[in-house]
Amino acid sequence: MKESEEAKKAKEKWEKKVQGEKIRNAKFMTISSEPIPMLATPADLEEFDYMRDLNLPGEYPFTRGVHSTMYRGKLWTMRQFSGMGTPKQTNERYHFLLDRGQTGLSVAFDLPTLMGYDSDHLLSEGEVGICGVAVDSLKDMEILFTGIDCGKISTSMTINGPADMIFGMYIAQAEKQGVKPEQLTGTLQVDILKEYIAQKEWIFPPEPSMRMITDLMSFCSQHVPKWNSISISGYHIREAGSTAVQELAFTLADGFAYVEAGIKAGLDVDVFAPRLSYFFNSHLDFFEEIAKFRAARRIWARNMKEKYGAKKKESWLLRFHIQTAGCSLTAQQPENNIIRTAYEALAAVLGGTQSLHTNSMDETWGLPTERAVQIALRTQQIIAYESGVPNTIDPLAGSYFVEYLTNKMEEGAEKYFKEIEKRGGVLKCIENGFFQKEIADAAARFQREIDTKERIIVGVNDYLVPGEELEIPILKIPPEVEQEQRVCVQNVRKERDNDKVKRALGALKNAAKGSDNVMSKILDCARCYTTEGEMAETLKEVFGTYTEEPVF
C-alpha cells in the first residue's frame, strides 16, 4: 500500500477518535479566514512530485528559492524604509541606519512628493515632511544622499505617480557623485496598477501611466541595466485588507499585465523581464505567508516560461522584497509589535526573500524613533546570525502542511487569474472595481471578526490594560520643516537657469504628445533643477488626471 493510502486510513481512524475529544472554542482559520486542517499527512500530497513541484534552489520552478546557494551565498538585504522631514534630517537617519548595519537604502517620501506636488503647492499645506521626506528637486536629492556612495549601495524608492521624475533626480545626483547610470543598483516601485487598486497614489490615468512604464523599462534596459525598473507590489493590496490569496493573485496578475504591455510595446521579454521585481507583505499568519512566497515563485516561473515564452532563466525568477505587515500592528501596547514583526520577519526569511524591511513598534503612532528602528533592524540581524534559520535552504520543504498550503495558494491564485481573464483583464477589472470590491469585502469581514471577537487581537479586543497610557516616545516632525522646504524650493527656482528649464519642459511635453521616450526627457529636466511639480504639471497637460469611482 502507498504511504499516502496508509496515512489516509490511519487519519480516518484518528479523526473518529478526535471527534470525542475536547476542542477549544475558536475558529481555526488563517488571518485570511481560510479554514485550516487540524493535521496534514502524506494523504494531503498524493500528487506531490518533488522534481516537478519543487526541484532544487535556483532551478525551475524555483519553489525552494531563486538562487542555488540562497542565504549561504548571500544574506537578504536589510533595507529599512525610511524618510522624515527635510532631506538633511533623512540623510542623518540613513547614516544612522547604515552605521547600525543596514545593507540597502529605501526612501520614504512625503505625501506631496508622492502625489507630484512641490512643497509650496497649496495642497501641500500641513503635509510637508510628515509621512516621509520632502523632495522637490535635484537639490534635495543631493542633500539626501550626501556622504553615501550610490555606486556601492543599492537604493529602493517607493514612488509611483511621479516615479520617473524622482528617478531622474536620483540619476542626476549620482552623476554629480561621479557614479554613471550603468553602475546604479536599486529599485523604483512605479507599479501604477496597484495604485488604482490599493495605494491610491496616482497622478495620470492608466493608459499614459502604462506608457511611461514601458518607456522606463526600455530606458533602464539601455542605460541603467542593473536597476529593477519596477517593484510589482502586493504589500499595499494586503494593507488595504485583501486576503493572502488575493494579494498573491492580484499582484501576479499585475505582473503579467506589465509583461504583456512590454511585449505589446515591442520589447523583447528576455530583455526587460529579468529586471522586474516584486514586493510582498509578510503578515502574521506564519505558514500562510511562507506558502504564499513559495507559491509565488512557482506560479511566476511556470507562466513566464510556458505562457509568455521567456527563454532566459533570469526571466523566470521572481525576486522580491518583503515588508512586515503594518496593518497587523496595534496602537495599544505597542511593544507587542516587536514580537509581531519578529514572527513576520522570520516567515519572510523562511519564504526566501531577497530583501527585508521590518516595521518599528511605534509606527502605529508616527514615524519610527531611532530606538524603535534599531530594534527593528536588530530583529533581522538576530534571525541572520543567531537563529540558525539561514544555515539551510528552504527548510520547510517537504512539510506535509507547508506543501499542502503552497499548493492551495497556487490553486486559489489560478482561480482568480481565470476570473480576471473572464472579466476582460487587469485594466478592465480596475475600471469595473472588481479588485477594489474583493478587497473591501475582505476588509469588512476581517473587521466583523474582530468586532464579534471571533478573531482575537491581543491588546485590542482582549488582554486589554484598563486606563492604558502611551509610554513610549513618539517622533514628531517639527513645524519649521514645511517653511524650510518652501524657502528651499523657491530658492532653487530663482537660482537655476530658467531658460534651460523652459526648453527641457518643452521637450518633455513634445515627447509626451508623441512617442519618444519620456524618461530621457525627464532626466534632462531633472539635471537642470526642474522641480517635480513642474514636470508633473507639464505631463498633466498632455495626459490628464484620474479620479476613481470609490467602491466600498
Binding site: 505625501l111 495642497l123 500641513g126 509621512c131 495605494q199 485588507g241 503612532w365 473591501a440
Partner: protein, 135 residues
C-alpha cells in the same frame, strides 16, 4: 417612518489610505444609514459643500496623516459660516489624546481611535443625532 440618518464620509488631505473609512461606510450602510462617501483628496470646502447639498446629519472624516488640527477646525468654521452648524462632525484615525480634547472643545462631536468597533460608531451617531433632534 423614521427618517434615515444621512452621513457624509470623507478623506481630507492627500492621504489615500481608505481601508478604515470604507469599512465604516459599509457598516453604516448595513446599519440602515444613507452613506455618501466622497472619496479621496477632498478639501474641507468640498466636504462641507457635499454635506449641505446632501442634507447630511453628520460629517465623518478619516485622518491618518497628522493634519487633523488643520482639517477639523476648518470644517467647523465653514459649517458656522454657512449656517450649517446642525451638521455633526466626527472623525477617526490617529489623533493624540491631548489634541483630541482640543478638537472636542472646538466642537467636534467624537473622535474614534484605533480599536473602535463599527457598532460603536453606529450607536454613537444614532444617539447623537436623535439627541440633536430633540434639542
Amino acid at each position: 417612518m423614521e427618517k434615515k440618518i444621512r452621513v457624509v464620509l470623507s478623506k481630507v488631505g492627500l492621504d489615500g489610505h481608505d481601508r478604515g473609512v470604507k469599512v465604516i461606510a459599509r457598516a453604516m450602510r448595513d446599519a440602515g444609514f444613507e452613506v455618501i462617501y466622497t472619496g479621496l483628496r477632498q478639501t474641507p470646502e468640498m466636504v462641507v459643500e457635499a454635506a449641505i447639498q446632501e442634507d447630511a446629519d453628520a460629517i465623518g472624516i478619516s485622518s491618518l496623516a497628522g493634519a487633523h488640527m488643520t482639517i477639523f477646525p476648518r470644517v467647523l468654521k465653514l459649517l458656522k459660516e454657512k449656517s450649517a452648524e446642525q451638521i455633526l462632525v466626527f472623525g477617526g484615525g490617529i489623533i493624540p489624546k491631548d489634541e483630541e480634547q482640543s478638537l472636542y472643545k472646538q466642537g467636534v462631536g467624537k473622535i474614534f481611535g484605533p480599536g473602535t468597533t463599527t457598532d460603536e460608531t453606529v450607536t454613537y451617531l444614532k444617539q447623537a443625532i436623535s439627541l440633536k433632534a430633540k434639542t
